[in-house]
């Protein structure tokens, strides 16, 4: 009950703040000359600062794309590292222009916090990791298994739902932190470990021998992560949404940062993509060209930050294009 009251209080304060927010993020961004982007305080592959302090990652690239679209320069982004609790307030109070911080799109957040989700840049979901040695190919073969998990998260509830829906039993072994969970898994306390898939991959690197474990293909919950903007500024909302869509469309069209100059006139769809739609969004016509030239298409960003050649080694899976068996689908640019 206490939690409900405090949630109500926070959402009413946020809603109050939302009404006081004036439109015109685009003008503000243009006049200050940079995009202020809210990121995490460190999440491998999604938003993370390297040794020289440069932010990089899949979430960071969304902000860079918006900067490329609006200001013509992908480097004109300033980052505000935010904890999970601060993130919505920072957006509401105008401290940041975009929140791109592995934030799950849910009805409650969309409906009651005065925010809008501009799209999905990573389809996450709860998955399972097992030791290769036990030779299991699917979670359905794991009836009666011992499962390591972090207690007090929705992970626990999703797991219970999944196992009871499939008429299987399990024994849960609870830990307080994700680090303790992976230590328990490594010590052989459990047959499998469950967590959000993106996290499973970064936990796997912490194993003594990362290739000894595999992530199973099953995804048992929906965690669509995407960039968030303030509600009530449709112009800015459109720019962020279409910057992300441009990255996904470019991959579909085969445009990369390397070949966009030579491909410009290859097909009518590509001509439409690179030429003159920016006016409809209130930004420069070269917006889509700038995004692809400076940041790259969605696939490039994925492979560079979390893909198979990175230590995380995340397969495209759900995040592959719809035409290749995934669910990444962007409306056409025309």
């Amino acid at each position: 009950m206490k939690k409900i009251t405090s949630t109500l209080l926070i959402s009413s304060v946020l809603a109050l703040a939302a009404t006081s927010v004036s439109a015109g993020t685009l003008e503000t961004v243009k006049s200050k000359g940079h995009v202020q982007c809210g990121v995490s305080t460190g999440l491998a592959g999604f938003s993370n600062a390297d040794a020289s302090g440069n932010w990089q990652g899949l979430d960071v690239d969304v902000c860079r794309a918006v900067a490329a679209a609006v200001l013509g320069d992908a480097t004109k982004v300033k980052f505000t590292p935010l904890t999970a609790k601060e993130r919505f307030t920072a957006l509401q109070s105008g401290e940041i222009d975009i929140l791109s911080r592995n934030t799950t799109w849910t009805l409650t957040r969309d409906g009651s916090l005065g925010l809008n989700f501009a799209g999905v840049n990573y389809y996450d979901g709860q998955g399972f990791m097992v030791s290769k040695a036990i030779g299991v190919k699917s979670a359905l073969e794991l009836d009666g298994a011992a499962v390591c998990l972090q207690s007090g998260t929705t992970t626990e509830l999703n797991l219970a739902d999944y196992f009871s829906a499939n008429g299987m039993t399990y024994k849960s072994i609870n830990y307080d932190t994700s680090d303790a969970t992976i230590k328990g898994f490594e010590a052989g306390r459990c047959d499998m470990l469950t967590s959000d898939q993106s996290q499973l991959y970064s936990l796997r690197i912490k194993l003594e021998n990362p290739s000894s474990a595999i992530v199973l293909p099953e995804v048992i919950s929906k965690e669509p992560l995407g960039p968030v903007v303030r509600q009530g500024d449709d112009e800015w909302f459109n720019i962020v949404r279409w910057s992300l869509n441009a990255m996904i469309n470019a991959e579909e069209l085969g445009l990369t940062s390397a070949n966009i100059d030579s491909m410009k006139t290859k097909s009518p769809a590509i001509e439409r993509f690179v030429g003159g739609q920016g006016g409809k969004l209130g930004i420069d016509d070269a917006w889509s060209y700038n995004i692809i030239k400076q940041v790259g298409n969605y696939g490039e960003s994925f492979e560079a930050n979390v893909g198979l050649d990175t230590p995380l080694a995340i397969a495209r899976g759900l995040n592959d294009l719809w035409s290749r068996g995934g669910i990444m689908y962007a409306p056409p640019i025309r």
């Binding site: 305080t41 460190g42 307030t89 109070s93 105008g94 970064s202 690197i205 912490k206 230590p311």
Partner: protein, 366 residues
């Protein structure tokens, strides 16, 4: 009768009273209980120390550039070396590191004369360090005037930020705490109740709540777009919080001063500020040095809580480095290093406090 005025040479102690064996027997195995505990301690040390030293030094990797260079059995300190700039300065631009360095050196240079006995202008120098120096340090580190480029506080981090947070917290909370302690013992009811309410309010809430309110709720009450610096908010929160604790420590000292001292200062015809400043406070503060330093050490470590509001202090920088996908899984090295740095500073403060007590021991030394 002839008197021998020469002092006869002292004889060496009997053989049964000297030597390492006797020392061990006397100190470690004097009783059965003592012997058992000594043995247990020795076994524990032999069990823990060699593997620890082996991990931290002998099998450790000291040079290299990436995780492939790391030795599996020992600590991999190249993880820290790789991030050392960030550990010290956060995101402060590398080419401007000389500015915080200069500010630090200046502080050390200014403090040295305070420890020289024959230096006569200690009061003036002390006042300069406390009142003028913070502005110099601010202009050096933040920039914005004298042609120095502005480095916004969002780029401050690492050990530098930890030190700034604790130094400001310590320097600002002590005078505030003294005023509050005096206020709480005041005979004026309004003044007294304000101080009591203040102290009890701030002591009644956790620091994490204060920081959280300062960072999450406060911005909602400001007009949109007004950017009230996050570091400043945290600093104000920490100072207000810490001054309440300081007030109670100082009040403890005030209560330990015998009534005769108060009466004596009144009998001398001293007014309130003079009797407090010349008679009561010097004695009271001297008594509570351990308590004050205790509070400072606690504050120094509490500054790590700023990581929940997205400021990158030393610990938060280590946490950030640990999420670098090139370096996942080096938690042990990261946290051991952070613990070591904190220990060095806390130990230094504690030694300084002991030295200060020894210097001011007049009257109460046992």
């Amino acid at each position: 009768m002839p008197v021998n005025h020469k002092k006869s040479p002292s004889l060496p102690p009997p053989a049964s009273e000297v030597g390492i064996v006797v020392w061990v027997k006397k100190n470690l195995f004097s009783t059965y209980a003592n012997g058992v505990m000594s043995l247990a301690a020795i076994v524990l040390i032999l069990l823990l120390l060699p593997p620890l030293l082996d991990w931290a030094f002998f099998s450790a990797t000291w040079s290299g550039s990436n995780r492939a260079d790391c030795n599996e059995d020992g600590a991999c300190w190249i993880f820290i070396a790789n991030r050392i700039d960030q550990v010290f300065y956060g995101f402060y631009p590398a080419e401007l590191h000389w500015r915080p360095n200069l500010a630090g050196l200046l502080l050390i240079g200014l403090t040295i004369p305070l420890f020289i006995k024959s230096f006569h202008y200690k009061n003036w120098l002390g006042a300069f360090i406390l009142i003028i120096y913070p502005f110099i340090a601010y202009f050096l580190i933040h920039g914005g005037s004298f042609g120095l480029e502005v480095v916004s506080t969002t780029k401050w981090g690492g050990l530098m930020l930890t030190l700034i947070l604790s130094a400001v917290g310590i320097v600002a909370s002590l005078p505030l705490g003294i005023l509050l302690a005096l206020g709480r013992r005041s005979k004026m009811p309004m003044f007294k109740s304000v101080c009591v309410v203040y102290i009890e309010f701030w002591r009644g809430i956790p620091l994490i709540t204060v920081l959280f309110m300062a960072s999450v709720m406060l911005p909602l009450f400001f007009p949109e777009g007004s950017d009230f610096d996050k570091l400043l908010r945290a600093l104000i929160g920490i100072t207000l919080f810490q001054s309440a604790y300081m007030a109670e420590v100082v009040r403890g000292g005030l209560q330990a001063i015998p009534k005769g001292q108060y009466e004596a200062s009144e009998a001398l015809g001293l007014n309130y500020p003079k009797s407090m400043g010349l008679i009561i406070l010097p004695q009271a503060l001297k008594l509570v040095i351990p308590g004050i330093v205790n509070t400072f050490i606690a504050l120094f470590k509490d500054t790590t809580l700023v990581l929940i509001i997205g400021l990158f202090d030393l610990l938060a920088i280590i946490n950030l480095a640990l999420t670098d996908s090139e370096w996942l899984g080096f938690d042990d090295e990261g946290y051991v290093f952070a613990a070591f740095v904190f220990w060095v500073f806390c130990f230094a403060m504690s030694r300084y406090s002991i030295a200060l007590e020894a210097k001011l021991h007049t009257g109460h030394k046992r």
